[in-house]
Amino acid sequence: MPSVAPIEPDPPVDPVGPVDTGPAARARYLDEVMAEIDAEVRRRRASGDLPAGLERELDELFLEFSPVGLHGRARLRETLALVDGSAYVDTAVPVASQKAVGSYVKRLIRKAIGWYVGFIVHQIVRFAWSVSRMFHVVVDHVEDLEAAVESQRTPELPASAVPVAGPGWSWWSGAAVDALAGVGGRVLHAECGDGTLLDALIAGGADAYGVDPTESVIEPAIDRGLDVRAESVLGHLEVVADEALSGIVLSGSIQWLHPNERDRLETLVTSRLAIDGVLVLHSATPESWTAGSSHLISDLAPGRPLHAGTWSHLLAQRGFRPTALLYGGEDRRLDQVAPSNADADAINAAIDVVNTLLLGPGEYLLVAVRER
């Protein structure tokens, strides 16, 4: 190992300014300065010079200039502009050089092979522009689609407005159990709540299980050992095999699904239910919809309950044969006046009209069998 050659020392440091009072004193001094700077900012804030949110607004404004901050359509267009910008190939190779002769040589080379480079570049640019044009067409289509989807978008129903499936035995439970007695295969109860109907179906010999999107509601059913899953009916039916179910009970929020989702539900129910399988559908009546339910739901829900006759029609189109229709729930119909009343006939006629058009039973149960 050779000896280390002597190295000249660094020139001495020549501090200026106030006498150095040591690192600790300097640190204290800087801490005091920082505290005063902080106080100045607080004073500005208190005086209104620094409105709340101003600095955040500055950051947000900067993001508008950044590809990081662009989203959706703007980002797509920004990226497309980059593609367009890159599609041009410059054949004018720079000829600048640190040495004078270098520049001359580069210029000579550029001139000599210009015809060759130009030929190649022409084809590359043509290809690049074709690709760019294709992207423009795709982006235009995407934007049209986005606009169409956006115009049909339904606002989300506030979660707080959605009632959880009511536990307990309802007026229609017994009829549903009867309709599904002896179906043989798996029976699904959509929006099964606490599993009361499942208990009855199982007691009746059915191989029943349930789904419900509200996790907290199904806990009692799970505690009782029932096969219950926290899923939406649409999400669940998507993953069920064709004709795997012998019976389906639809209840709860399926009655106010968006028309597109209701159509998807009809398709899924039809395909997942075996031939001769039984569909049991519980719904509120349209007449009771505005009068009987929460105004938030009736006003903001993406869909509204159908008349029993409409369901029958839709199901018949999909190969179902309606076998039973029961009305129940709260009956809000007005009672007729006694015949002893002098105007009984006129009044009762008016009551009939009101009952028919505006009131009537609150709910119904429709049973249908899949025939094809």
């Binding site: 280390v4 190295i7 660094d10 950044s66």
Partner: protein, 363 residues
């Protein structure tokens, strides 16, 4: 005879890593060692001082130590992975890819590759040299067993060149007595120049409506640079934010001499040489405490733990209008600069690598 040969992806003039590599080469030769520079590429000006790295095997000698100047992705890393000689890493940090995501995907991919190369090399290195404790900690996290903190060497005499007086006059004629905030560094998302624009906007509202921001450095991330200058124009600062690029060392010295405060709000710095250049120019510093900035700056500047524009603007004004504070910071800067003196750093490099060559390990 001991040979300490350096490998560097690109040997460039007027470049911190290039200057460091050349200065080290001269230092090693002064110590009586053989020392060559092997490169993937070199600038025309320096091509006669470098050899392509593929030629090293035919020149290899027993006892050689290979010193890799690591700051970017390069096939040199893969080459060194295959070499049996003791490897020393001189790590200058690689900016995390997350800073470039969304801005420049190809740069993001390149730095990801670079960081994977650091991760592959670190466990194999007999020594990791880092120009800051921040960088040394990163090397240790990646499996480097022994590390030493040695500052970067600058080949020129002093940290800044003689001032180009014509450039200085031109700058002064442009802004007159207005306050000038200066930042030097490539225009890149991790340097966060957009926060300087925000600070300038607030500074003009509160303290000096004519204040200027001078940004010196190459616009390496074009989309970010466009965003920064577009943002400045949107805020009505088009004429108040000036960009200096392709400056000679003397012109750069003029930009330092022209400024009133050096302001750094960078979010990731492995060392930050411009802080030392500002100290050497007697320019008070206001800096956000990120990465290696606190250890490079020490108590020679106002160190902010937050870079809200209001805080930066207030700190700048305090420095600008408190001569006692400014003098103290400048004096502390000169003292701080002494700790990065070239002679002591060169001696320490020779001591550390000499110990390695003698098989004594590193203190």
């Amino acid at each position: 005879m001991t040979g300490v040969h350096q490998f560097v992806p690109a040997l460039l003039p007027r470049d911190a890593t290039g200057d460091h590599t050349l200065a080290l080469r001269d230092t090693f030769r002064s110590a009586g060692w053989e020392s060559e520079i092997y490169v993937e590429a070199a600038h025309d000006e320096l091509i006669d001082q470098a050899t392509y790295f593929e030629r090293y095997p035919e020149r290899a000698e027993p006892g050689d130590i290979l010193l890799y100047q690591l700051g970017t992705a390069s096939p040199v890393a893969d080459f060194l992975l295959s070499r049996p000689e003791p490897l020393v890493l001189d790590y200058h940090n690689v900016t995390p890819a997350s800073f470039y995501e969304g801005w420049e995907d190809h740069t993001s991919e390149k730095v990801t590759l670079a960081r994977s190369q650091v991760a592959a090399l670190a466990p194999l290195a007999v020594l990791g040299i880092a120009d800051s404790a921040f960088n040394a900690a990163e090397l240790r996290r990646l499996g480097c067993r022994t590390t030493a903190v040695l500052p970067i060497l600058i080949g020129r005499d002093g940290w800044v060149d003689r001032v180009d007086e014509r450039e200085l006059s031109r700058l002064f004629a442009d802004h007159g007595t207005a306050t000038v905030l200066l930042f030097v560094g490539r225009i890149s998302p991790n340097k966060a120049q957009h926060h300087l624009v925000e600070a300038l906007w607030l500074y003009r509202r509160w303290y000096d409506p004519e204040a200027r921001l001078h940004l010196v450095g190459p616009a390496v991330t074009a989309s970010y640079a466009e965003a920064v200058f577009g943002f400045a124009a949107e805020l009505g600062l088009e004429g108040a934010v000036r960009h200096g690029e392709h400056l000679t060392p003397a012109q750069l010295a003029a930009w330092y001499a022209d400024a009133d405060v050096f302001v750094c709000v960078s979010e990731h710095e492995g060392f930050c040489i411009p802080l030392l250049e500002a100290m050497a120019s007697d320019l008070p510093v206001v800096a956000y405490a990120a990465g290696a900035v606190p250890e490079t700056l020490g108590d020679a500047g106002i160190l902010l733990d937050d870079k809200r524009p209001s805080l930066v603007a207030s700190a700048v004004d305090r420095v600008r209008h408190d001569p006692v504070l400014a003098d103290r910071l400048v004096a502390a800067g000169r003292g701080r600069l002494g700790q990065f003196g070239a002679a002591a750093t060169r001696a320490r490099f020779v001591e550390v690598l000499g110990a390695l060559a003698a098989g004594r390990g590193v203190d």
